[in-house]
Symmetry: C2
Subunit: 342 residues, 2 copies
């Protein structure tokens, strides 16, 4: 039965009931070893009886440890970020740390505003997506000595740690794979590259990979699309209109690939017989389409878990985790196949 008083019980109340000083209560609650067995038990008993819940603001104010971590992702509507956040939150919760979540809608100015809010809330670490950010954002974090991690990229810069994968390398992998199937004219539906280094690097990697295989620019068509089904469809239409001969398309995301696939189906273009399509991310939806999507697997949950791990690690040992490159595996399914022999 909770306390009869209608006032919120605070640390002094616990102290009174346990018959000791507030300092002792504080020490017990923070597992400070310098306190005797009996005192400790009395305090714990009193706290439980009163249903005491510490005041996080007061604690944070005095100790400068807020037990708060912030993240700013582009959107929660795209499963690839939701899954990362899922991993992040789960790991943080294990450590008793809470996660403040914000979205930027792929807008770096908005990201800056959200970062300001996070700093104001006193977060100890900020988890960001990608390595491209406003300089103001980075300065803000540096100035307050807040740790920050980039994800979905593995290039640590300045104070930033990076936990992710090599987007460029992944683009090269896609190029090599499609080329190995005999394709010689290619299309790519990239994500919007403005303000998005991941989308840009995937595209550049794909182009570089093809270049080093001797494929010239004239055999490659590139368009950009937002990350949703409709945009994928439209982009596919536009791409085929501009480059009717291409036989293989690399999409910057499974969502885009699914949209592209839908467009093909609506036009009677057979996949993979007429056209190979591969995606990126390996979301659950990749196995829902028919044919199922060949794609590159992004370790989204693992990035989140590791970012959480990073945030839980003390500032002294963090440098050991400064840069972590995870693998991007090629998952071959049935949306890709050998090029038509002409």
């Amino acid at each position: 039965m909770p306390s009869p008083s209608s006032e919120k019980t605070k640390l002094v109340d616990v102290a009174k009931r346990a018959g000791c000083s507030p300092a002792t209560v504080s020490r017990v609650l923070n597992n400070n070893p310098k306190v005797g067995r009996n005192e400790r038990e009395r305090v714990l008993k009193a706290a439980a009886e009163l249903g005491y819940v510490p005041n996080g603001s007061a604690r944070a104010l005095r100790s400068t440890r807020s037990r708060l971590v912030g993240t700013i992702i582009p959107t929660l509507d795209h499963a690839i970020y939701a899954i990362m956040v899922s991993g992040l939150q789960a790991r943080l919760a294990e450590g008793g740390v809470s996660l403040i979540m914000n979205t930027s809608s792929y807008d770096l100015n908005m990201e800056y505003e959200q970062a300001r809010l996070l700093v104001e809330r006193g977060v100890e670490t900020v988890v960001l997506v990608g390595s491209e950010h406003k300089s103001e954002t980075i300065e803000l974090l540096q100035r307050d000595r807040i740790g920050y991690v980039f994800t979905y990229t593995c290039h640590a810069t300045g104070d930033a740690a990076a936990i992710g994968f090599d987007n460029k390398k992944a683009g090269v992998t896609a190029a090599n794979y499609l080329h190995s199937l005999g394709h010689r004219t290619f299309g790519m539906i990239a994500g919007i590259t403005n303000g998005n280094d991941r989308a840009r690097e995937r595209r550049d990697g794909f182009l570089a990979g093809l270049a080093s295989l001797g494929i010239g620019k004239e055999s490659i068509g590139v368009v950009e699309a937002r990350y949703d089904l409709g945009s994928g469809k439209q982009a596919m239409q536009a791409l085929l209109q501009l480059y009717p001969d291409l036989t293989a398309v690399f999409c910057g995301s499974d969502i885009i690939a699914a949209g592209a696939l839908k467009y093909c189906q609506s036009r009677g273009i057979r996949v993979p017989e007429d056209l190979s399509i591969i995606g990126f991310d390996n979301l659950e939806i990749a196995t829902l389409t028919s044919p199922e999507l060949t794609t590159l697997e992004v370790p989204a949950r693992e990035m989140g878990t590791l970012a959480g791990e990073y945030a839980l690690t003390g500032p002294e040992e963090r440098h050991l985790m400064r840069e972590r490159e995870l693998d991007v595996r090629l998952i071959v399914r049935s949306s890709s196949g050998a090029a038509k022999s002409v």
Copy 2:
């Protein structure tokens, strides 16, 4: 250029630079009207020059307004919750409020733990999913006079507001629809109903709807499945093994329906010719399968937005938004059709 000093700038620093008292700075920063034009401008200028960011903990401690809202959802891996949170976060951000996000893995004990953490962080409102919770959880919130809202349900109970829809009614809608197509033997793949009132009510609504149409229990098979593709597949297999004659299946989620559909395809069962399948949620994936899924549309984002609205509304006016029932629309696509004439 940020302050040359390496110490974090605080309110007194701004006061010094503006040549006024801390109280005045505080008033300006909180838009207190009782401060003259020139003072106000001087303060704002000083704050900007110093790159001042207020300390949220101190502010929260003194004013008892944390500008923090918490939510506990079952998981972020299921898009239906991710989308709700997306709407919630977006609305809160507009009001300058931050969101702390936690997951419970459909476990009410875990939910309680997370709630404790939220109380400790000083959140002003908690957004929960469904109306079934541990009594300890509710008591905890009531005791600290923290506002709380249930979502995905429209039954307000006690202090709780509810913003959602009528799961039972939705189940009835499904029953009526399938019956109207001529089906007379039914299956349902419900979500796990233990600790999940939404899943339970959908099932009960479906059964009640069929009952009032004169369909007896012997013509209805029910199994439960977790919310993922594989479970949907398995459940479909189990269902057909137990009840080989059924011609229509209502699934508790589009994910489950997609899995069920996949199973049918693997077994050469034609949908909708041999079997009608309908889902729940109307996620993006419902249009990715072939055939596309008939489903019931859950207003996930709107629930989030409205819950955010509720949280931003002062305690005095909240009672006006105590219960809000949103519509669940039936979206007919091609996974459902007339029953086979025998």
